[in-house]
Amino acid sequence: MSDTADGITESLFEAPPMAEQERMVEAILFATAEPQSKLQIENRMPHGSDAAEALQHLRKRYEGRGVNVVRVGDGWAIRTAPDLGFLMQKETKEVRKLSRAAIETLAIIAYHQPVTRSEIEEIRGVSVSSGTIDMLLELEWIRLGRRRMTPGRPVTFIVTQNFLDHFGLESARDLPGVRELRDAGLLDNRPPPGAHHLNDADEEEAEDVGAEDQEDMFS
């Protein structure tokens, strides 16, 4: 306190030299938590100081430097030079496996599209969290299809071109059927005799429907 008082008293007689004023503005802009207006800066400086001029000098001094003196609203602040923004970011890449719920939901959508949420739940036998759907939407692997023309007009989900690209498919119809999966040894559980036949038929029907709609979608 007394320091400032002294400073002010002294400076009643003479403002500090411009180089000194520039130093002051530099320190103020560095240490304050918010951008400072010309007036705010001047109020901190010894009497008779010219913050505007000091700011101009300082601004010039920092031109092309790693940080710049910039206008923020009606205040001034020191900020990282725009081209060095990348230094302030650290990117961590993480490869994560898709959760079982997500991959199953995705598989159902791929095989049965367009498919409503309650149909997905029907097939999975458990409810599907909206988090799972949101994630697949965010990944841009699924998107909304046409509304189903049934009571409540539920939304349907379909797979996207991104999905096809990611999984290296020309179209969703290229996905192998259950019988092919079994032949390829991808089905570890052997269903009871007789049961699977019916199933396959069901599925093929479903696929057919899907395929038709799909042609609509991608054409």
Binding site: A27, F30, A31, T32, A33, E34, A77, I78, R79, T80, M88, Q89, K90, E91, T92, K93, E94, V95, R96, K97, L98, R100, A102, I103, E104, L106, A107, I108, A110, Y111, E122, I123, R124, G125, L139, H166, F167, G168, L169, L175, P176, V178, L181, R182, L186, L187, D188, N189, P191, P192, A195, H196, N199, E203
Partner: protein, 269 residues
Amino acid sequence: MSEDVADDFLAEDQTDGFDSTAERIRAEALVVDVEGYEGPLDLLLTLARTQKVDLRKISVLALAEQYLKFVEKAKRLRIELAADYLVMAAWLAFLKSRLLLPPDPSDEGPSGAELAAHLAFQLERLGAMRRSAARLMARDQLGRDFFVRGIPEDVSIKRRVNYKATILDLMQAYARLRTKDSFEPLHMRERDAVFTMEQALERMKALLGHAIEWGDLTQFLPEGWLKDPAQRRSATASTFAASLELVKAGRLEIRQYDTFAPIQVRSKG
């Protein structure tokens, strides 16, 4: 007390400490502080200063006498001295006798001169640390004389998660589902007969306000779910479960007078 540790740095009033740390310091200070001295060494250092000589040329003998006098005076004034002061007094009395009496050749251990030299060293060292502490505190300090960046731009850590899924994962997932299907087929129609717990809870919550009197649980069953036995079963089960949930939440009371007697509920509070 003429100390060159600037008194500015002393907490004049330690009662403004709010935490247990300050509390503890205060409690200990009561024992240690004898008339403002922090222990016998501090007292000795102050006494030494009255000799107005370089600490290295101090007369330890004179100092010992001064200290013993101080202790005696304190005793006369019935000031209760902490044990350290008395221990130091005893030791100084011993030192004094060693310094005054001719050395006994049969006596092992350090000579009076050695002991005196060490005491002088201790005093000099303490004095030096006092001065250093004052010089340290007189330095420019962060947050008082110089400052850190006011608007730090923190490094933003962007975590990019790449989800890994192969066509194989996809096919296996589907295969798993279809295989499960073949074991326990589920059909839309069967699901029609399920009145879920969530639905029941929703319904019960809506009806809660009306259940002022004890009423049969069955009257809470949803309309249109009573004819088909499967539907009725499901609705009854979920409504009962929902009731228990509400009882747990303290919003409902439930009772049954006898085995298989009707279950009755009423809202609570």
